[in-house]
């Protein structure tokens, strides 16, 4: 029989429920695989076999009974306080809402996943646990801030992980690692017991190999069904400026090809305020987080993060006021846009995962630190509060994946998951089933 982590999340749940496989064997095999594959990636830096076995012993017969799940290191667990990519506990141990949802579903939390320091970057190369590697090329970034969740799923160490997305932190690493990442509508998954519970931009979500797995884990996290089977003929809004400009040519082509084979009706549109979305998102995201960083935390911080916080402390208050005006403009414009289309689409990231050694991307306009162009593609959805998904749609000539992002109106996660399943069908699952070298595919 194949290794349980070569099965999808849906298949693992079904095989355990039917008695075909023993969940204790699944847990042991998962821990073995993490030990075997993770040293190159640093995606699951902390496992806790004893607590995982206790969780399994007390697991109810829910939809994820006995299935191992990874959780980003931002949520309180009864035996561990989250560290947020730092060396220090940020909250005491306890029961976060995400822990309770997973426990009630019978899931087994097998480890915490690595992340960018304070959640403050899209590359994942700054963390107290070391940089997160990419399963397609461990010398490249796994992404951030939920990079550990993405890399662990991409490397087939676990089939599902929980991420959080305040400026693209689910969608961006999902694209880098070739998995399906769904940022839910703001507030739909409760964030009690989360290190940034105060944030107005953050939403949790599932990070899985494909849309069916993301639907299953997403239903557990949201505590509600996400019915499948909506219409496959969608109207897709294409917002050229700024989201289809200054892209790596291969990324642009792969995303355009995916939309072409989808058969969906494409409709060009403009969204007022989109031209300032990147900086409005950066301002809102960073400034609302500053109040949590005290002098001790600043002194202990990674030197780059410490200097960035100092820069943020000098930004004028007027910037935040204007950022919120842009946010209001975008949210009003989006309501009208979603009367004319079912979803909007653009590349999740403008360029493939950069090297850990030098996390910069090459774009037609020149070389840029990856964060700024990445947040240009993702911060828009956080300002708006709408759900967004990244779906793998290609492989770049550098050997790492390419993701297409779709966003729908508030509460319309079902549209996104249906759309992702449609893309999987029309691409014959070529990209969701592709195996990275670390998972045994030929390099």
């Amino acid at each position: 029989m194949s290794h349980p982590q070569d099965l999808s999340l849906v298949q693992q749940a079904a095989a355990i429920a039917s008695g075909e496989i023993d969940p204790r064997e699944v847990l042991d095999a998962t821990l073995d695989r993490i030990r075997e594959r993770d040293p190159a990636l640093r995606s699951v830096p902390v496992v806790f076999p004893e607590e995982s076995r206790e969780m399994l012993d007390g697991a109810p017969r829910g939809p994820l009974h006995g299935v191992p799940i990874g959780v980003k290191d931002m949520f309180r667990l009864p035996w561990r306080g989250p560290r947020d990519g730092t060396a220090r506990e940020q909250l005491p141990p306890g029961e976060s809402a995400v822990y309770r949802r997973l426990h009630e579903a019978g899931a087994v939390i097998v480890g915490v996943t690595n992340m960018h320091f304070w959640g403050g970057g899209s590359t994942g190369h700054v963390s107290a646990y070391g940089p997160v590697g990419n399963p397609w090329d461990p010398a490249r970034c796994g992404g951030g801030s939920s990079g550990g969740s993405a890399a662990a799923v991409g490397a087939r160490m676990i089939a599902g992980a929980v991420g959080v997305d305040g400026g693209g932190s689910i969608r961006l690493p999902a694209a880098y690692c070739g998995i399906t990442g769904l940022k839910f509508t703001y507030g739909r998954i409760p964030l009690q017991g989360y290190t940034h519970e105060f944030a107005s931009m953050d939403a949790a979500g599932p990070m899985c190999r494909d849309a069916a797995d993301a639907r299953l884990l997403g239903e557990v996290l949201a505590g509600a069904p996400i019915p499948a089977g909506g219409p496959s003929a969608l109207r897709i809004g294409i917002v050229r400026d700024p989201f289809w400009t200054d892209l790596d040519p291969e990324v642009q082509r792969a995303c355009e090809d995916a939309l072409e084979v989808s058969g969906w009706t494409l409709q060009e549109m403009e969204i007022t305020g989109a031209e300032h979305a990147q900086i409005a998102a950066v301002a809102r995201l960073t400034l609302e987080g500053l109040q949590t960083i005290d002098a001790d935390a600043l002194a202990d911080a990674d030197p780059i993060m410490r200097a960035l916080v100092k820069y943020e402390k000098l930004l004028p208050a007027e910037l935040l006021v204007r950022a919120d005006l842009i946010r209001a403009r975008i949210r009003r414009a989006l309501l009208g846009a979603f009367e004319r289309c079912d979803a909007i689409a653009w590349p999740t990231v403008p360029a493939p995962a950069p090297a850990i050694e030098a996390p910069v991307v090459e774009l037609p306009s020149g070389q840029h630190p990856a964060d700024a162009p990445n947040v240009r593609q993702s911060g828009f959805g956080n300002l708006a509060g709408v759900p967004g998904i990244s779906v793998p749609v290609g492989l770049h000539s550098t050997g790492v994946p390419i993701g297409l992002q779709l966003q729908a109106a508030w509460g319309r996660e079902s549209v996104l998951l249906d759309a992702a399943e449609h893309l999987e069908r029309v691409t014959e699952r070529a990209y969701v089933d592709a195996l990275p070298p670390v998972a045994g595919a030929p390099a």
Binding site: Y186, G187, H276, I279, K310, Y311, K313, R322, A372
Partner: protein, 67 residues
């Protein structure tokens, strides 16, 4: 010391926050990346842009939900 360094050192000093050479170098790099977009937003004509009262990002703006 150029204008940028003078600004960041004086601003941080007012807050009692120290800054060393490497802090200034990282801040200068951050300003090269984000400064132009910050200044564009600060200069943008937002006359007529109305703030959203009672922001609730879980749905569309409240004033339009009823419409």
């Amino acid at each position: 010391m150029d204008a940028f360094e003078g600004f960041v050192r004086a601003g941080l000093d007012l807050r009692g926050i120290p800054a060393d050479e490497s802090d200034v170098a990282v801040m200068r790099a951050a300003d090269a990346v984000y400064g132009p977009a910050i200044r564009r937003l600060l200069d943008a004509d937002l006359a007529g842009a109305m703030p959203e009262v009672g922001l609730d990002p879980s749905g569309p703006p409240r004033e339009l939900r009823e419409a």
